[in-house]
Symmetry: C2
Subunit: 312 residues, 2 copies
Amino acid sequence: MNIVEDLLNHSRLALAKGITAVENEYDNAVEIMTKIYPHTGNAYVIGITGPPGAGKSTMTDGIAKEYRKRGKTVGIVAIDPTSPYSGGAILGDRIRMMDLMGDDGIFIRSMATRGSLGGLSQKAGDAVKLMDAFGMDVIIVETVGVGQSEVDIVKTADTTMVVVIPGMGDDIQAIKAGILEIGDLITINKADREGTDKLNIEMEMMLELNPEHVQWRPPINRTIASRGEGIEEVVNSIEEHHKYLVDSGKLAEIRKKRIKSEITDMINVRVNRYIDKNVVRTPDFEKTVTKLQSRELDPYSVVDGIVGKVLK
Amino acid sequence: MNIVEDLLNHSRLALAKGITAVENEYDNAVEIMTKIYPHTGNAYVIGITGPPGAGKSTMTDGIAKEYRKRGKTVGIVAIDPTSPYSGGAILGDRIRMMDLMGDDGIFIRSMATRGSLGGLSQKAGDAVKLMDAFGMDVIIVETVGVGQSEVDIVKTADTTMVVVIPGMGDDIQAIKAGILEIGDLITINKADREGTDKLNIEMEMMLELNPEHVQWRPPINRTIASRGEGIEEVVNSIEEHHKYLVDSGKLAEIRKKRIKSEITDMINVRVNRYIDKNVVRTPDFEKTVTKLQSRELDPYSVVDGIVGKVLK
């Protein structure tokens, strides 16, 4: 089969194979991505993130179904950076797939690359591009957490939603920082729980304090995703943000920024791998490490020497 | 003041200034780290990690106090990758410091470098080395989460403890993967909560399935850290693991591995910064990005060209 040609002709099998190729860095991955690139840039990309247990998967599925109702096709890239499994093998994803299966307008793929030498956000970005070239109208990237690698992943998105839940205690402080940095929308899920009003007030106050929110103030929605409650309003908010980005000219701006950071990531991954192969995995380096361990050498002089040798 | 000389003469102010220098990448940071390096390698380093809300800070403080009882001096590096604050400015740390303050045998420092261009694990490693050269017997590195950046940070440790709590639901799957990769010890905190026995059985089963645990099987301790219950046993387990590493010769082995990964990280950070300065922040790159946005160019050919120019 010709993956690129078939993918552009809406073959789901070709899409699946294309993502597998980029995930596992098969030899044909670069060729595939090079050829599909001119066909990308049409999908609208939504990022969903939040702490473990916030109900992101259920939320994602609900949003996908709502978009289907509105006549849009939907791709889902579910990132689990802590899982050693991949390719949709996670139990939760299986349950989800069963629920959404049989609908040709939806394609779900989970990705997990724990322990790989960088490049998770690049691989997620490539999966998005493949779904984009395939013709999906909306692509949802779902990832756990609010750490740096998650922030990198949601940079792939046009609109980013942070999901929070009542009862997170002091950890809300850390989440708040993440929201300030990346959240275009805030959704309080499990909003039938005690503490919902308090959390809502805290979020309002946090937004109040942020001077950046002059043009777009992140709306706070409430949902009970497990019962589908509030999902329609969330999708309305996403569409409002979409409209705001288009009308203000910001969409082109953030997409330009994204290309910049994608290219930078790709360069860094390539260079880091070069160093791994040509410096780290050599007998010379072993000897140097032994001398460092005995404190005959110091790390800073060693690094100076190696960097001088590697860079032009 | 001469930071290196004063630090080696046990000046707490010099230690604080040294950490500030590496955290903020002051001009004198490399010189300080080069000079103190021969004085490192004596402290025993303990890593503590786990999901948000597991009670890691309370646990860390309890362990520190127990080591003080046993006549050891203790350094604490508390990492919060999601916080925009640093230098011990977090409310929780202030409370902790008040509690432990007045004891010259303890030094606490929190570090937060969200948004910085990589290097968090390197900075944490440098803080550990500074406390080591200062003369701390035991250094505890505490960090939230089980994502990749946290795994990198706890690689700084000789013994790593993963803290879990009952009631984490499905998220326990992700945590399990993290434990398998990095946990030398498992501690169930908040062990008066419902679900403790179930969690204990799950953890036992997970360990049972791991063939790597032939020589050292991670013990599972139970604590209620907020009341100090079980902390003594945790420290006993840490010391048993310490003894195992020394007796088996593994301590030298893992420290060698650590030096290797530290050097690799340092090289990567240096090279990535070089690329940021000499490639990304140039007018040429801006033009290239515009052509990528209009799909006149494709990212893979662009990256090939740049990598070829940067590397020797």
